[in-house]
């Protein structure tokens, strides 16, 4: 077993998800099935192999550091569940 139910609860917090006990049970089983399968990769010798297969011969394209106005604040705010003026409203963050 790669992950326990407790591990799954912790991962859910990291993933900003909330799983019921039943879903946690199911998720634990599913994740272990998948992780057991991907163990296969340990059969491959990857000594000295670069993880960047895409980058050979390429440079990251850069954009000029210029401000471009989106120009439609109303549209950008329209989809928010709660907004006021130019702001998105969220619940208080408790410290």
């Amino acid at each position: 077993m790669a992950v326990s139910r407790e591990d799954v609860r912790k991962i859910a917090i990291l993933a900003r998800l909330e799983l019921s006990e039943e879903d946690t049970e199911r998720m634990t089983r599913d994740m272990n099935d998948i992780l057991a399968y991907v163990e296969k990769l340990n059969e491959v010798d990857t000594e000295n192999v670069s993880p960047h297969s895409f980058l050979e011969g390429k440079k990251t394209p850069l954009m000029p550091d210029e401000v471009v106005r989106f120009g439609n604040l109303e549209a950008a705010l329209k989809n928010s569940p709660r907004s006021e003026g130019r702001f998105f409203i969220v619940p208080k963050v408790i410290e």
């Binding site: 900003r16 998720m27 399968y37 991907v38 394209p61 989809n79 569940p81 963050v93 408790i94």
Partner: protein, 478 residues
């Protein structure tokens, strides 16, 4: 006018351009077919907007304006590409059910420049995560040949719409096979371009190093035409390739004689259904008759592709879906609580089971202590898979394989067995991992269900796979 639906996109565009049928009449025929259809291919239809755009094209034509060649031709696009306006872009998810995009995707801008008419957004697996189009918050897509079977996924709505003549062509997206596999299951043509060929700006991201938008159509010519419209550099998208777009239509009838066709032995295992093998080998025999040189090649790391893919794709998905937090757009839970609770509840209420599974897996493989063992390892194996392809595509010009190991399965078959479902992607994921282009073309049937043959090419050599596909379409009886 139902014979309009039996024409190819190119033929129909020609009729519209010649003034023999109006764009409005054309769109109405397809909209009517969409309304009557019960395969659940479309999530939303933009009837009023489409007809207004069609009217505008007709008016411009009547005034003698010079119009692009496909002006007034309708199509449908997968609901993970944003279209500005009143129709939502939902990604088949509850979390984006009412999301109205303030901007158009790059491909949508290209379609609008071409004056093509988007009739609606097609159904899909939620956030493109799936191989069956069953994981939709709006119900599964029903397969076009047997409605009790899956349409394939995640572009099942697009593939089924084309197969049923609800639109002459469609756009889909492909991260692990999501254009090619539904094309194979539905008996249509589906092409995944080279990574970087088509801009991903406005495509809701699933696996950023894997995703590509591509055409689905009834003919290779239509797929080539649509590819030509959407391909090209986009400054806004940092992975968009600054490589000129060749004339795909012009290259379609290129010479096959002397073409070196590689058959990767790992894609024809003993376990492959012998009837699927036969359908594919019929295609190969046809190419040989036309003068192609057939050879066996090897892609030795194929057996590790699914494992590498599901680590990389889920890792990237967990990062890409972190933005859905109920703050700026999408579903926010109405259950009160402080910020962290809001995030957790909104996301849990909004995402379906498969999406949650992939987010969880992705979060785990990227987490401290596991990143090296999983994500980094998978990326190294990816390099080895890429080297396999580079070597094989030095010996051969194109590779030919089955698109899928089986034909379409019954709805609900993999309900509780995600790994079994993932294994069905074995012939398609390597193409995304390596970024090469590939097309699936119909290759007959097994048990009355469509089978696809996949043609894979070198980076940016869509012309070679299209000309090969075209020959198969023309020469083999289906």
């Amino acid at each position: 006018m139902s014979d309009l639906r039996s024409l190819s996109g190119v033929e129909l565009a020609g009729k519209i351009a010649a003034g023999r049928v109006s764009s409005r009449e054309t769109c109405e025929v397809f909209l009517s077919a969409i309304e009557k259809d019960d395969h659940n291919c479309l999530i939303s239809v933009r009837r009023a907007e489409a007809l207004a755009e069609a009217d505008n094209v007709d008016k411009m034509r009547a005034q003698g304006a010079s119009l692009p060649p496909y002006a007034g031709l309708p199509l449908v696009i997968k609901d993970n590409m944003v279209v500005r306006g009143e129709q939502p872009t939902s990604c088949a998810s509850k979390i984006l059910k009412n999301f109205k995009s303030p901007y158009d995707a790059h491909v949508v801008e290209k379609l609008k420049e071409a004056r093509m008419i988007i009739l609606g957004k097609t159904n899909m697996d939620e956030f493109a995560m799936g191989s069956s189009s069953e994981n939709s918050a709006f119900g599964p897509v029903r397969g076009p040949v047997d409605p009790e079977r899956v349409a394939g996924g995640s572009s099942g709505g697009s593939a089924t719409a084309v197969a049923l003549g609800l639109a002459p062509m469609a756009l889909g997206s492909d991260t692990g096979g999501s254009i090619r596999q539904p094309a194979a299951f539905c008996g249509v043509v589906g092409l995944k371009p080279t990574y970087g060929r088509v801009s991903r700006y406005g495509l809701v991201a699933y696996g950023s190093s894997l995703d590509q938008i591509g055409p689905l159509a009834g003919t290779v010519e239509d797929a080539a035409a649509l590819l030509g419209i959407i391909a090209g550099h986009d400054k806004r998208e940092s992975t968009s390739a600054d490589v000129p777009v060749p004339d795909y239509l012009g290259a379609l009838d290129g010479e096959i004689k002397g073409l070196r066709v590689g058959l990767p032995r790992e894609y024809f295992p003993d376990s492959l259904d012998s009837r699927v093998r036969e359908r594919v080998m019929d295609q190969v025999a046809c190419l040989e008759d036309l003068g192609a040189e057939i050879m066996e090649v090897s892609l030795p790391h194929t057996e590790y592709a699914i494992a590498a893919y599901y680590i990389i794709a889920t890792a990237e998905a967990s990062a890409n879906l972190a933005r859905f937090d109920g703050v700026r757009y999408g579903h926010r839970s109405s259950v009160s609580g402080e910020l962290l609770e809001m995030y957790r509840r909104s996301r849990s209420e909004g995402f379906g089971r498969e999406v949650k599974r992939r987010i969880m897996l992705g979060t785990y493989v990227l987490s401290a202590g596991y990143y090296d063992a999983y994500y980094l390892k998978a990326q190294k194996v990816r390099t080895l898979i890429t080297r396999d392809f580079t070597r094989a595509l030095e010996k051969a010009d194109v590779l030919v394989t089955p698109t899928t190991p089986t034909v379409s399965w019954k709805l609900g078959s993999f309900e509780d067995n995600p790994v079994q479902m993932y294994l069905q992607d074995i012939f398609t994921v390597t193409v995304n991992l390596t970024g090469v282009p590939a097309v699936s073309v119909p290759a007959g049937q097994v048990d009355g269900l469509p089978v696809g043959v996949q043609i894979i090419g070198r980076h940016f050599d869509e012309a070679a796979i299209l000309k090969t596909a075209r020959k198969l379409e023309r020469e083999v009886n289906r």
